[in-house]
Symmetry: C2
Subunit: 344 residues, 2 copies
């Protein structure tokens, strides 16, 4: 087994820079749209092991990425806990908004493994098909980000409901976070048992928290999750992705113990090279809109990233998920650009 | 004249920390909602000097803030340039989306001063009523942020249209930015002529740009605007607010020449104290949701901010605009907390 993504996360240099893209299994692919049309709805696709495995494999077959990431959603955890989740075509995710601490008692961690069994089945199916050199990434939403959807009853532009609750009643909100930390640990462990080689924790809305909130609701839960996973699976690397953390990335890396740190596109390369790369494998951070633009806008920034991080192991990725309007030939060109550049 | 906000921006210590709040004239105030109901729509309120002056004064009368900020909107500039803008009650701002470089030729900088005359009239009215110790802030949206609305035809969660255009065709997009830089300079100068003591440049969506984009579309335009204003009005301080800039705040302060730097709530206090405060007057950065929560969540963070920045002049503010559901008594308590703390 010589998976370049694993090697990079273990601090070893690789012949070429490994690459995968967030949301690489998705609507920009015609073959994904075909499978998606077969599934009743988005959740049904996540819960159909054969279809979920198929869409997970599609970008690997087409582009030869160094990692597959299991096709699933961060809101499967609240769904498994018993908070009803559904997806509306034009509105994105919807949840029955959580009605304070009373409702927390109705969430059941015992449901995680049985309810999410189809995800673990899909992981096993992907692992069976996947080239041994390609890593398989399991993932979960970080508790804070999942809580923002649970409190709002869907997505929002400012995560105000969760922030208001967290600030007003940190004990009550802390009870929800405790449930989510435990549920996340359970879900991630089961993904490793099923065959995941690497784990990623997506804290998409970490940037919405202020400094004290970030320490309490982003760093502390990530630290608990990382230590629980490391206690059982010391060799499975964990990538943290606290999007929008900005100048707080240092504290996140130092305090959580993650092996890899996902960088959004706003992170300055020189800062990451000097202050983060010595402590964790960096992963990122091309703006997905540069991949849409292609040409010089993409080339110049890809080279800037490859040059900035050349001296230590790193993983090439976008700074956020790939977007619908991305031309497939730009993805091909990106993979070629990254592969053609020999590590120094 | 001993305006504490001006003194702080000039690097002088003040007896107590000056305070004002972004969006302090707004819907959380019952007296604002009353005036708003009299105006046909939101734009009509902005363009009615008497009403705009009245709502600008309301929070000063009620809370005694150290600065008034003229009631207006960052989208008045595209409206004046000739791109139709309207506000829908439930959807926020709408614009006829800009149709590429051809449409740029139809924007007219000559219309800025005549079209925005009611704003300058409102500024003069406010200055005439305002206590001489209270500063009057004029403002504009930064060109990048205004461009995101002009390209999307409204607000968006990711500013994808402007990013895509900026990356794909930096020459065409640069033409739009050149128009906006010039229009912004014209608009800000006219506000000083009318009586504004301080200017603030709001780059709400600066965080959406990657490092190279930030240098090109956030820092460079701000630098042009600051130098043009300084050439004519060397004594009028300028506050830059590149929201979401994170670790790029250093570069922004160093390169633009702003006198003050607005901090969003995500900026770590220690970082700001060590690396920003020596170079500019910092302004910020209480999370508006802590003001909604009140109590311990507010007190602890207010004291953390006051303590962190106590050694040099600074201006207390929120990290983003005050929100609708803010209890008025929490605002009163905040002003008292800040005023009761003597500067060291």
């Amino acid at each position: 087994m010589a998976k370049p993504v694993l090697q990079a996360l273990q601090g070893k240099k690789t012949a070429t820079t490994p690459i995968w893209l967030m949301r690489q299994a998705g609507r920009y692919l015609p073959e994904y749209r075909k499978v998606r049309a077969q599934a009743k709805d988005f959740l049904n696709l996540c819960y159909s092991p054969e279809l979920a495995a198929e869409v997970t494999m599609q970008p690997i077959r087409r582009f030869g990425f160094d990692a597959a990431i299991i096709f699933a959603d961060i809101l499967l955890v609240p769904d498994a806990l018993g908070q009803k989740v559904w997806f509306e075509e034009s509105h994105g995710p919807r949840l029955e908004a959580l009605d304070g601490t009373r409702a927390i008692g109705q969430l059941s961690i015992d449901r995680i493994v049985p309810h999410l069994a189809p995800v673990y089945d899909a992981i096993a199916r992907v692992r069976a098909q996947l080239d041994p050199d390609v890593a398989l990434i399991g993932f979960a939403g970080a508790p804070w980000t999942v809580a923002t959807y649970m409190c709002e009853g869907g997505g929002s532009s400012d995560q105000a409901a969760a922030r208001a609750w967290a600030y007003r009643d940190s004990i009550g909100f802390g009870q929800l976070m405790d449930v989510l930390v435990e549920a996340t640990i359970t879900h991630l462990k089961a993904q490793v048992d099923a065959g995941a080689d690497v784990l990623q924790l997506f804290d998409t809305w970490a940037g919405a928290l202020d400094e004290a909130g970030f320490a309490q609701w982003c760093i502390a839960p990530a630290k608990s999750i990382v230590s629980a996973l490391k206690a059982e699976f010391p060799k499975v690397p964990i990538i943290g992705f606290p999007r929008g953390a900005g100048a707080r990335l240092h504290a996140y890396v130092r305090e959580t113990g993650v092996d890899g740190i996902g960088l959004d596109s706003g992170v300055p390369l020189d800062m990451a090279r000097r202050f983060l790369q010595p402590h964790a494998c960096v992963q990122g951070n091309l703006d997905p809109l540069r991949l849409v633009a292609g040409g010089a806008a993409m080339h110049s920034q890809v080279h800037a990233i490859l040059d900035a991080f050349a001296e230590r192991p790193f993983i090439f990725n976008l700074g956020h998920g790939i977007v619908l309007q991305t031309p497939l030939e730009h993805v091909e060109a990106l993979v070629k650009l990254v592969r053609d550049k020999k590590a120094s």
